[in-house]
Point group: D3
Chain length 248, copies 6
């Protein structure tokens, strides 16, 4: 049976993510679908941006389940809406940040985030605490390039990533690396090659591919999140949002 | 100088909170203002409800600062929008849950939440982790009355609270109690009287009054949240929400 | 490309595990291979048993890699030899206990182990600490049936599991369940059905299937454990064990 | 109703603290009173000094309550006698270190102490552990000026504080600063001005003013420490100390 | 060379401890000396009592070193004055609570305190946090007999201890027991015998004997506490206490 | 009564440890015995090496108890086989790493390991987690000399140790030092002398002497590890190892 994984990119900017970017993750028994938001921010770089992405992300999750998806992956390292989406659907919903952190903690004793901007640090701090993985979180390093500019100059990005990974390993002592931005998709091979020239060989987690494969793993294992942790909301009056099945 | 504290109740239900409920907190040097949401849920009992309350809560916070408030208190024990509001304004923003937990940790070695519904437990779990206070969090107990029904029968509510507080103290070993719902405002005196009859004398934190006083304390001390933790967002394209000063 | 996952059962007892037990995990792009030990204990129920399983488990891992396996799964909830095997091979090695605990922590706020004997409790205690997941570990419950007897009476086992899961959820407050013995393979469907009759619906992690799928997920994502955490041993004199490539 | 806050400076040196230093904290509804010790050390810079400050601090607390104070603030960042004073009185007793740490943890994800001497580090270490706030405690920095000399050259002190705050923020990554000595009272405005010139804007907690305001906040909220955590001692034979109400 | 261990009982009550009680700990190479306080409380059952025991305990420690002791043991499970004494002397100073907790954590995965009164619980809570052993601390149980009455009826005490140890093991899951009062000295053999009749065999730590032997172990190993953690205080003006070498 | 402590060196290399190396630890009431392995690795520098040392270490422990030893010390800082040995014997078994870490945590607020090779870091990481002492573990530093070469040039070793200890104290802030290799036995006096010239005076724990004295302390106190934590294994079929009393 084919697993259908719906990738929801919780922003409105087509230029940052399209189905084509992830279509190569498809396998004979894995189909990947993609949605962008109709309402929300251009990119996510703050708690404020995340807040504005939530209502429409939730709506897209409800629709994805209705349309036959077997699992949902939220395409942002802030995992925006992960808990709320898990409450409203009955198929696995995965956040790439949660998935990557647990994976890194399994493959190494410590990990570092390498991401776009210093201002993401507090967001990661909160997620590490929420997921209970403070012990493995070694450091945070930023390349200082805003999300909307990462595609403008890929080789500059890869060079900057290389410099920060080297510092994360050699100065901070990290034993695995997590890309702190899903927009880095596609950089990992060039980065690994560059690092090998410096004699550095650590796992580098490119969050979206592994989270999509992990979603498939959950579906094939018949597992979903706990309804004791994410109980389904009852219906109530809601003004300003149309949430089929939940608003009266 | 008079401190102006704006209480933002992040729901749309007038029956649950009006300025009259909190006007007695005013003092000669403290003015209390109040807002409800125009868009959002009828009550907050899930991550889903919280998600839908965020955009308009943020907007009300931006407006409150513009209208001269010196501090903002979010009137919900989920502290919805606390981080995002701190990013967008330059006056103290307080969440009653964060304030109550730090206060309880100062007054006792451990605390319990007593609140409306069992389904709130995971939300509190996340906040305890985020605020780093796992060591003091002893237990969670619910009276099993939905938010929209707590005002229907106050004496039934007080009796139920009394039963759960007794269990929290005698069975779970909690040394302080936090009301896990801001809708319990006004119950604390009757509850304390009832508990004294059972020989139980522990601090019971009614979150809204103490958080309003605490907001005044911060203003008088010239303190605000850190802009390194809550950096101000830049302007960017936003669809579906009008956020003066932040959306292009 | 087909992923080859080698399952190494770190005991000598054919009756407890054969390839037939796990062959149904194979998919068009996944092959499962199986080894038992030549030297070691009949079953694993103590640190002593684990110690005696290590040398031959490591040898089987070295052979598996040489014979073309793409990943290795150790078939015991004590994860015996996980670290040593990761040092000597360059393909992913997974322990079902580590994998299940990280997965349970992703799907719920807390988990309980339900396993064979009370005497396993200290072994699980050590693994929880080693993997840094104390915050999610809620409780441990045992059905009091030795490993070598679990296959003798499956319906008795399933009944006992059901009773302990109910206590783990209702008394201990666990929000997900992990089978603490890989010998419970095959019980999960009957158990879920029984629990549904009691209105209990929590994720129940049957470790071997999900760990095999997870091994495939790692291979497909191009990820392996960190060589900074698990550096390859140099060659040295070894008496009593033949470890190709490592003993002089 | 006016709140009366008694500040107890747990040393014998008049030159270090007088009522005049804190009189400006008074407001129409807040009166501040002050006591120094009759027996104790000249200043507090060690566990030894603290030990010698305890008996008379406790006695002053008993007297303060008898004389009508509504709350007590201990004027030393070691919080000497906080627990013992809470046992013997029934009005809130606040330690500036506990109050400042909880406040800093509410306003930022991490804080640093900047204080007089390196030798204070172990004392702060113990308090951080006792108050359960290890997660937020980022670093400790000292200006290397003994307590008895801080008033000798205020501009030298302010310069030294500025240098250490800059390192705490830029090198250690602290997002809020706590003055680790109550003797720094009065330096905060000059320090903030100096830091702004370096583009640094973090909350700087001057412990005594905010702890006095916080004491008032507790009184106005009707809250006090838990008698389960700080039970009242019974009467017993005591030699060498006169403790009205407690010694037989 | 003979080790001289000075036991300082930080109270004024001769009836509770004399040299005769511990003289049997002497060995050919170990001499035990004993001091009581001249000023202080009759017994220690609160933070208040501890505070009043500190100055004279410190003085006795200074004298013990001057008189040739090689190590000091403070004879109270609150470890009163441990840090201050370590600052003022250059020989090992041991607290029985710290020693017992580290030992219990070495011999078992968890421990429980069984002690005199429920009101001791918060004191133990603070010490567990200070010593960083929260993970091993399982439970606290009290026999509800004040310190000054424990010698009145030894068989009643032993029975009560037996009941509480059984609950600590069977209900709370503790795997080792620490006597939470040094006044229980001499009860351990009868207690062990009683527990064996119930099939219970766990380590029971009688704090004073093991702490005295441990003091000898440190002396024989040439080890002492760190002067970076416990720096020697400088001389300063002190009123009300005569501390040779430290007061001007 | 004389205490007999059996030191088991879990390797096969006579040149690294003989009875003569530790005979000076004997006292009138303490006898030291020594065993090396017949099967196992030449030295221990990896989880792989440790795994191969376990079966024969366990066998030597069983024999030691049979031959009248009163306590066992495993002579390797990886504490290999500590848990398994505790299961199979009824006399205290001590690991120098566990003993040293608990001792260092008692004598100082933090400790650093100084040891042979960087590749030991992950092994120490796991033991710190297992023993629950993460809070005290400050740093790890290696002299970069393999175990088999440490005896070749003692003055080079001592110089290298001195350099790393200085960094551990001055850069990392460690307040006590643990030798991370039992092969450093005999270096401590020269090292202390060298450090004093730099004005550095911290406890340096040479693990074997203090662990042998500690074993004696446990025996004299009548204490042993908990059988609830380390339950005795039942008899079962074992292939490839002869374990008297445990294999059928």
């Amino acid at each position: 049976m084919k697993t259908i994984v719906q990738l929801i990119t919780p922003i409105i900017t087509k230029e940052l993510r399209q189905l084509d970017d992830v279509i190569e993750l498809e396998r004979p028994d894995l189909e990947v679908r993609h949605s962008l938001l109709d309402a929300g921010p251009a990119s996510i770089e703050s708690e404020f941006d995340e807040a504005l992405s939530l209502p429409d992300t939730i709506k897209k999750a409800i629709e994805a389940e209705k349309n036959g998806a077997n699992a949902i992956v939220i395409d942002c390292m802030g995992d925006p809406g992960l808990d709320a989406c898990r409450e409203v659907v009955s198929i696995p919903v995965l956040g790439p940040c949660q998935t990557s952190m647990h994976l890194a903690s399994s493959l190494a004793h410590s990990f570092a985030f390498v991401t776009v901007l210093e201002r993401i640090r507090p967001l990661i701090h909160c997620l590490v605490a929420k997921y209970g993985l403070e012990k493995s979180y070694k450091s945070f390093r930023a390349v200082d390039i805003p999300v909307l500019e990462i595609h403008a100059n890929i080789s500059k990005l890869t060079d900057a990533l290389e410099q920060e990974v080297i510092k994360a390993v050699q100065v901070d002592g990290a034993e695995a690396i997590i890309f702190g931005c899903t927009g880095f998709l596609g950089c990992v091979d060039a980065l690994r090659a560059g690092l090998h020239k410096h004699g550095i060989d650590v796992p580098i987690i490119d969050p979206i591919p592994v989270t999509v494969h992990m979603a498939d793993c959950l579906v094939k294992s018949g597992l979903c999140h706990s309804k004791l942790t994410y109980p389904t909301p009852g219906q109530k009056k809601i003004v300003g949002y149309d949430m089929p099945g939940f608003s009266i």
